[in-house]
Amino acid sequence: MLYFENWSEFLAMDGHGFYVWSAYAVGLLVVIYNVLSPMMAKRKVIASIQRQERLAKGVGKMSSITESSLLQDGRGAQ
Amino acid sequence: MATTEQQSMRGGAACLALIKRDLTLAFRSPGQIVNPMAFFLMVASLFPLGIAPDRDVLSQLAPGIIWIGALLSVLMSLDSLFKSDQDDGSLDQLLMSPHPLPLLVLAKVFSHWLTSGFCLTIMAPLLAIMLHLPADAILPLFVTLLLGTPVLSLAGAIGAALTVRIQRGGVLLTLLSLPLYIPVLIFATGAVNAAAESLPWNGHLLWLSVFLLLGLCLAPLAAAGALRVINE
């Protein structure tokens, strides 16, 4: 069933290999972009919500100095 | 205070007033009319300098040059369609008028067409001669421009309405209107090219008039909807 005998012929695809593989490379790039960008956006949103929560909770108890250090950690954690 | 019993709604009078207002405004500041025409002339005279001055090259490119020049100059003058009203607050009055907004938008687009598209159409035969367009293609050029430029104004009005509150909205306006311009460009230049090779070109005209009718019905509705949404 396998059309190509060996690996090197599969890569070369008798001359058209470059085009086929570059097309698939672009395809891979688009897939990666579409998978990665929501993940990064999700991390950013969660970080901002957590910071919003910490600010809301933190304002009551902690003094401002520790709170600002918390802010730094919040940003560092991103 | 006479209570307003069922007054006869004089939408037409309001449109005429709007058109009269826009035309007087255009003539009060001549730049509004002369700018598109000057731009059109400049674009048309750049091409021979950029490509080649000899006859056969130019005569083949002439329809495309003239039509793209007209399209760009209409686009350039579209920016001020709603923006001037937005800046001095008269757009709110337009929205607060009892008359249907699409009708008023149609009036504004008509006056914009008169001051831009129509003048370009009048100028085009002159440029056609300048670009060695074959003689029997000048009439089709004039007719396609006459039918096509209103569609440019109508389709552009939607983009203008969407970008009315965006400061540097010029480029975005072009980006939004171009896809709507492409069919008109294709059929118009197709007609002129067909006429240049003395082939029948009435089929293209039919399509152009289809676009015109489609634009006349749908564009004011979309532009009015956009204006209401943008001004919330």
Partner: protein, 204 residues
């Protein structure tokens, strides 16, 4: 949420002054009532018809005066009034227009391009449109800006006169209005303030 569960009734002869600090949402409220903005949840009725179905009559009978004068700079006051009144479905009569302009103190300025007029005079052109439009409901957003002292007094008397012949006025202003005719009501937006400073979210 700028404000919530706010409601009031305006009947002929009423003058309602909406007060609030900057950013309390005065202009937003006026634009919602005028039908220019549809952010709100809740209903507005005009002659006990939901506004959504009575737009034409509502706009025939109302006049919205915003922050910007709504006047074309290159045109003269007369020309401006022509198109403004036509928009309100009123056939402008030359003598009436001149009379309205005279009433607002712009006698002699009828044919001068508005670009030569001062900000106060521009607002007077809008007042002339207001008078000539014979609208029942006046929605005035900070009408007193750029108006001199006697102008303010004149405008107050105009509002009272409009209210006594059965008109309604909705006005936002920082200046305390003198309650001569006893039909002035005040509405402080702070009593209805929402929790977060965000234009209240639209529908579902």
């Amino acid at each position: 949420m700028l404000f919530h569960n706010l409601s009031f009734q305006l009947s002929p002869g009423d003058v309602l002054q909406i007060e609030g600090r900057n950013g309390a949402g005065k202009t937003t409220l006026l634009r919602i009532i005028a039908g220019l903005s549809s952010h709100a949840r809740g209903d507005i009725f005009w002659n006990d018809l939901p506004l959504a179905s009575a737009y034409a009559d509502f706009r025939l009978a109302s006049f919205f005066l915003g922050h910007k004068p709504g006047v074309k700079m290159d045109l003269s006051p007369l020309e401006n009034m022509h198109w403004r009144l036509q928009l309100k479905n009123i056939q402008p009569v030359e003598s009436l227009l001149c009379e309205a302009l005279e009433q607002v103190g712009l006698y002699g300025y009828e044919d001068i391009p508005c670009s030569h007029l001062s900000a106060g005079q521009l607002r007077r052109v809008t007042f002339a449109c207001l008078i000539a439009s014979k609208a029942k409901l006046w929605i005035l957003d900070e009408p007193f800006t750029a108006i001199d002292i006697d102008g303010v007094a004149w405008l107050e008397s105009l509002i009272d006169e409009h209210a006594t012949n059965g008109g309604m006025v909705l006005i936002t202003s920082h200046q305390p209005l003198s309650d001569r005719k006893g039909n002035l009501r005040k509405l402080k937006l702070e009593d209805f303030a929402g929790d977060a400073l965000e234009v209240f979210d639209g529908d579902y």
